[in-house]
Symmetry: C2
Subunit: 238 residues, 2 copies
DNA sequence: GTCTATAAGCAGATAGAC
DNA sequence: GTCTATCTGCTTATAGAC
């Protein structure tokens, strides 16, 4: 798998050009290859776009910079994604799919310790695995969430409402302290996403070893423990 | 006090122009007034800049938009702040001063319950009072904190190190659970700043009444309780 | 101290040859 | 499917009259 996020523009350009020559040869005989060229270029552009949107926000990002990072002429970017906004929407959509997959872990168990603990861990792992995506999301919300109203209202809100009901049931059963469910969920999101969004601050304050694999695992365990204590979760008696 | 953040450009323009006429009259006879014109215009521009930087990040913000919101010609902005970056630095510097004032509340008491609880409350109040400032800070960190390395390393880091020592002492005295001090501080920052930075998401998910004065006070108490539980803080026996 | 006009360059997007 | 050249408009910043 190509490392879209760390390779240099020059390296990308070389990869692109050799790839392009091969595919163009094939395209005369095997037009079916075109679809995979499209898929490969779109995926690559989306990864580069995610990085640039993360660093500079929607308004600050330029299609020229995204194309340059992808090692493609700007015109090609506009061939695959007619407008900057259409590219941005695709990035946000991809991000929501990952968010949704992590959200599923909340339902892995009826035990609040396992459900909440597992969800916090899944969110921490997402922050570690895809920090740029988290930053794009954060940037979008900070800027007023104008392009995300639909996702928030039609997808995130219903998920939250049903999880609020579940949390209230746990509280009624004495398995959780009487917390305000939304405040708990916001605390989980804020704390876990902090390790992606505020990476640069953590690096400056705690040193870059604080974000190494071993430290991150220790921190994840620490965060899980603290969130469980904050929520007063206990396992049901069997 | 003029409400810099909610007045319309047209209203600002009217205010500016009448103010300007008055000051120009005076300036012939009382040159000392010039200093206050400068101070007033700079303050006003800084407030408008904070809003635009919050919404669009540094790269996405334009000096034209900032000047328009301030009801001033773009050339005047460049008269007071030679470059966009110099304006941005002034905004960041002002923000750090507020951050620093809130940080002082951490030392208000030797009792961890009062110290941590008071600090969380101060941070929540800052999020409520100056959400745009928090967003500018967040945007800057997300974008890599390139313009804030000095503040982070020379001002925030020393504060954090001494607070880490204090927290470790509390743990040794049995007044706090054996938490990783930096993880606790990050959780406090993330959770409290979430109410400023992710305002738009909270509004979409919990309704705008969730951010009303009464709800915010309830939420603040809830957050204080949860952070204290997470840290396992207890007051010393007297 | 204010403000019009403009310089110099970069943005998003497209035309059209290959 | 690729890519050069270009259109149009907006960007930061400044010159110079008032």
């Amino acid at each position: 798998m190509r490392d879209d996020e760390t390779s240099t523009p020059a390296a990308n350009l070389a990869l692109r050009q050799s790839g392009t020559a091969r595919e163009q040869q094939d395209s005369a005989k095997k037009p079916r290859r075109k679809a995979s060229i499209r898929a490969s270029n779109e995926t690559h552009l989306l990864a580069c776009a995610e990085a640039v949107f993360a660093e500079r926000g929607f308004e600050g990002a330029s299609t020229a910079l995204i194309a340059e990072r992808a090692g493609l002429p700007k015109a090609n970017l506009h061939y695959y994604f007619p407008t900057k906004l259409s590219l941005y929407w695709r990035v946000l959509d991809d991000l929501f799919e990952e968010w949704n997959a992590a959200a599923d872990t909340f339902d892995a168990s009826d035990d609040p310790v396992e459900a909440i603990g597992g969800y916090v861990r899944a969110k921490m792992e997402l922050s570690r695995r895809r920090p740029l995506g988290s930053k794009v999301w954060a940037n979008e919300i900070i800027s007023g969430a104008t392009h995300m109203q639909d996702i928030l209202l039609k997808r995130v809100k219903p998920w939250m409402e049903s999880r609020v009901t579940l949390i209230e049931r746990w509280i009624a059963e004495g398995l959780l302290a009487p917390v305000e469910p939304r405040t708990l969920l916001f605390m989980i999101w804020a704390t876990t996403q902090h390790y992606a969004d505020f990476e640069a601050q953590i690096r400056a304050l705690a040193g870059k070893r604080a974000l190494s694999a071993a430290s991150f695992e220790t921190t994840t365990q620490e965060v899980v423990k603290m969130i469980l204590r904050a929520s007063g979760a206990r396992s049901p008696n069997i």
